[in-house]
Symmetry: C3
Subunit: 346 residues, 3 copies
C-alpha cells in the first residue's frame, strides 16, 4: 500500500529519523510496508521483541529496529525508538497535505466572515457570519462553520465537519470527518410541563496541534467554554460533555465519554470506552484502562482500571478473584454447613 511518492536511499531515510545505517546505505527503498508484506525494496519496522522475531523472517530489504545485532547480514537502520523513527520516516517521504489557497466556486462565505488569502475552502463548504479562517487552514468539502468561529492557521477540517456558532479551533489542529463541535450541552431543569432546556450560550475552544477523531462530539458550554488543550488527541466517536476542561497532551481513546463539567489533567490517557461521570476532577498523568468506569475524582499519576475504578493492581486482583468467585462461594457454603454441623454437635 504505502508506496513512496519518490524512492529514497536507506541513508536518506536514516538521516530523516536520526538513525544509523548498518549494511547497504545506497539500497533504494520504494515502499514502507508491514513485516509480512514487505519485499526487497521495502522498509519495515520492528517495534518490540515479537516484531523482531517476525522481522528475522521478513523479506524486507531494510529494517528499522533497535539493533542490527539480531539481523546479521541484513540492512538495518538502528534507532532507539522504532515507532518514533517510523513517524519521522513517513513524515519525511509523505508530504503533509498543505492548503491550496482559494475558495471553491461552490463555497459560501457569509457576510462579515473573513477568509485569509492563504486558506483553502473546499466544495460546498459554508462559513458563517463573522467567522475567521486563517492562512494555511483547510476546510474540506461540505464543512459547515457557524457564526463567530475562529479557525487558526494551518487547521485542517476534514469533509463534513460541523462547527456550531462560537467555536475556536487552534493552529495546526486536525478535525476528522463528521465531528461536531459546539452542539448544545445536555442541560435541563425540571419544570411544570416536563424538562425545560437550559439555553447553552457558551462556546468551545480547541487548542493547537490537537486532533479530534471522526464523528466525535464536543458540546458547547452552558455559559463559558468547553476546552480541549494543546496537543490533545481525541479518537473517533468520543463524547466530551458541556463545560469540560480537558488539558494538554491528553489522549482519549475511541468511544470514551466525559459527562459534563469534568476536568482532565495534562498528559492523562483514557483507554477506549471509558466512562467518566460529571463534575469530577481527573488528575494529570492518569492512565485508565479500556472500559473503566470513573465515578469519583482520580489523583495525579494514578493508574486505574475496572468499574468501580480501582488502582490498576487492585483491579487486576479483583478481576482474578472474580473469575474464582463461584468456587470461593462454594467453599464458603461448605464451611458454613460444616460450622452449623459443629454447632449442632457442640
Amino acid at each position: 500500500m504505502a508506496e513512496l511518492p519518490a524512492a529514497a536511499t536507506t541513508s536518506v531515510l536514516a538521516a530523516a529519523c536520526g538513525g544509523r545505517v548498518v549494511g547497504d546505505g545506497s539500497l533504494v527503498v520504494e515502499g514502507v510496508r508491514s513485516l509480512e508484506n514487505a519485499g526487497p525494496h521495502d522498509l519495515a519496522f520492528a517495534v518490540d521483541a515479537r516484531a523482531e522475531a517476525a522481522a528475522s523472517v521478513s523479506s524486507a530489504g531494510v529494517l528499522l529496529a533497535r539493533s542490527a545485532g539480531r539481523f546479521p547480514g541484513r540492512t538495518v537502520i538502528e534507532v532507539s525508538d522504532p515507532s518514533a523513527a517510523l513517524a519521522a520516516v513517513l513524515a519525511s517521504v509523505f508530504p503533509q497535505r498543505m492548503a491550496r489557497p482559494g475558495l471553491h466556486p461552490t463555497a459560501i462565505v457569509e457576510a462579515g466572515a473573513r477568509v485569509a488569502p492563504g486558506a483553502e475552502i473546499g466544495p460546498y463548504a459554508v462559513v458563517g457570519e463573522g467567522s475567521e479562517v486563517a492562512d494555511g487552514a483547510i476546510l474540506e468539502a461540505h464543512v459547515v462553520v457557524g457564526r463567530r468561529c475562529r479557525i487558526a492557521a494551518g487547521a485542517w477540517l476534514h469533509p463534513h465537519v460541523v462547527l456550531y456558532d462560537g467555536v475556536n479551533v487552534g493552529a495546526r489542529t486536525e478535525v476528522h470527518s463528521g465531528a461536531v463541535l459546539g452542539a448544545d450541552g445536555f442541560g435541563y431543569a425540571p419544570g411544570p410541563a416536563g424538562l425545560r432546556k437550559v439555553p447553552q450560550v457558551g462556546g468551545v475552544e480547541i487548542g493547537s496541534d490537537a486532533e479530534i477523531g471522526a464523528n466525535s462530539c464536543i458540546d458547547r458550554a452552558t455559559l463559558e467554554l468547553t476546552r480541549v488543550g494543546n496537543g490533545t488527541k481525541v479518537d473517533d466517536l468520543v463524547m466530551i460533555g458541556h463545560n469540560c476542561d480537558v488539558g494538554r497532551h491528553v489522549v482519549l481513546c475511541g468511544q470514551t465519554g466525559l459527562a459534563g463539567s469534568t476536568t482532565v489533567g495534562d498528559q492523562t490517557v483514557l483507554g477506549g470506552q471509558v466512562g467518566v461521570g460529571g463534575h469530577l476532577r481527573i488528575g494529570k498523568g492518569v492512565k485508565a484502562g479500556g472500559q473503566t468506569g470513573i465515578s469519583s475524582d482520580v489523583p495525579d499519576g494514578a493508574s486505574i482500571s475496572g468499574r468501580p475504578h480501582l488502582p490498576y493492581r487492585d483491579a487486576l486482583r479483583v478481576q482474578a478473584e472474580l473469575k474464582r468467585l463461584p468456587e470461593t462461594a462454594r467453599v464458603v457454603r461448605e464451611l458454613a454447613k460444616a460450622a452449623k454441623g459443629d454447632e449442632v454437635k457442640g
Copy 2:
C-alpha cells in the same frame, strides 16, 4: 462568554424567573457567567451548598441563589430552584433562534415536496419527493431529508442532519448535527449464502418538543414505527435500535444504546453508556446509573445500577464488596485450610 445581547437590570431578570430581589434591583447585568469568572456586572448562579461556598467568594455582581441569608450585603435574586431560574433568565435574554423564512438559492426541493412559506431551508439542503416542511421549521445547511418525511412546525434540524425516507419529526423538536434518523434496522435472517437482510420498510416517528443529540442514530422499524415520545431528550452518540418505543419525557444520556424492539416508559432516565438488550420492557420512571447493563425487564420506578443490573442499593453493596473481594477470598482460603487441619486432627 455569555454576554447578554442587551443589558438588563436585576429586577427585570428577577421578574423573568419569578425570583425576589434582595439588594440593588437597579444593578445593571451585562453577562451571565460562572462563579469563578463573573465580575461586578455579571450574574452567576449557585445551585447547591458547594456552589454557595464558591458564590460567597465570587466577584459576581448578582447571585441567583436559594437564599440571600448566606450572602450578607450582596445583591441576590432568591429563587426556589436556581437551575430552573437560570433556564428562565437565559431564555429571556438570549432569544430563541427563529426561522428566517425562505429557501436558500442552493437548496433543492424535489418534485412533490411541500415547503411552507414560513419555513427556512438553508444552503445545500435537500428535501426529497413528497416530504412536507411546516411553517417555522428550520433546516440548516446540508440537511438531507428523504422522501415522504414530515417536519412539523418549529422543528429545527441542525447542519448535516439526515432523515431517510418516511421519518416524521414533531413540532418544536430539535435535532442536532450529524444525527441520522431512519437508517435501516439491523435485521438479518440466516440464509444458505450467509446472512440475508430483512428489508426494513417501517419508519421513525419523533414526538414534539423532543431533542436528539449530535451524531445519534435512530433506526427505522422493520414494519411499523420506531418511536420517540414528546419531550424526550436524547444526548449525543446514542443509538436507538429498530422497533423501539421510547416514551415521553425520557432522558437518554450520551453513548447509551438500546437494541431492537425495546420499550422505555415515560420519564425514565438512563445514564451515559447504558446498554439495553433487545425485546425488553423498561418501565416508567426508571433511573439507571451510567454504564448499567440491562438484560431483563425493569419494573416501573426502579432505580438500578451495575452489570448485571441490580436495585441501586444492592448494586452499591456489591460494588463495595467487590473492592474487598481479594481480602474476602484470602480469608476463605485460610478458613478452608484451618478446617482441613481440623479434619486431619479430628
Copy 3:
C-alpha cells in the same frame, strides 16, 4: 406502515418464500404489519412460541408461521424459518432501490475520476481525483469520496457518507449515512514536544455484500489495509481501529469498538457495546454477549461474556454469585469471627 406497493395474493407470497399455504390462497394481502397492528388484509409473522401466542389473537388475515396446526381456521403460510421467510416476502414485494443512472447537475466529479454510465451520483456529491465508481453504484446526496477510491458495482452509499483517499467499497455493499471510512488511525509516538503523529498512509478495503451502519468509523491502516470481509454486517456507531482485519460474515452490533491491529475471524458475532483491545486475535465463529470486554485472544467457536471475558457459562455463574456477594461476604465474616473465638477458646 408497510403497505405493499402492489397487493398480492397469499399464494404469490407463499411462492416468494417457498412456503405452503393452508387456507385461502386467493386472499389478497395489502400490507405486512406487526401482529398487534395487522388487519384482515395484512400478513404478519410469528417467529417463536411467544409470537405464536400473540398470533392466535391477532386480526392478521394471513400468518407466516412454522405450523398451521396452532391456528385452526386461519390462513397460514407454513415455513420452516419465519424470519428468513419474512425477508424473502419483503424482498419480493418491496423492490430494491436501483441506480437511476446519471450525475445530478450539482455533483462534482474531479479530474481523472471515472464514473461509469450506469452509476447514480446524487446532489452535491463529490468524487475525488482518480476515483472510480462502477455501474449500478449509488452515491446519494452529499456523499464525499476522496482520491483513488474504488466503488464497486451496485454499492450504495447513503447521504453524507465520507470516504477518505484510498478506500475501496465492494460490490453491492451498503454504507449508511454518516459513516466515515478511512479517517486516520489513532497512532502516535512519544516525542520531545509531546506526542508525534505517525502518518497513516494505508487504506481501507470493504468486501462485497457487506453493510456498514450509520455514523460508524473504520480507520485507515498505518501502512497496509484495514479490512472488512465479504458479507460482514456492521451496526451503527461502531468503531474499527486501524490495521484491523475483520473476516467474512461477521456481525458487529451497535456501539462495539475494536482497537487497532485486531483480527476477527469469519462468522463471529459481537453483541452491542463490546470492547476489544488492540493486537488481539478473535477466532472464527466466536459469540460475545453485549458489553463484553475482550482483552486477550479468543479461540475459534468460543461463546463468551463478561468483563473480564469468560466462557459464557462461567460468566453466568460469576454473575449469579456477584449478586449474592454481599451475603457471601457476611457469612465469611461470621465464620472468621467464630474461628477466632474457637482459637481463643482452644
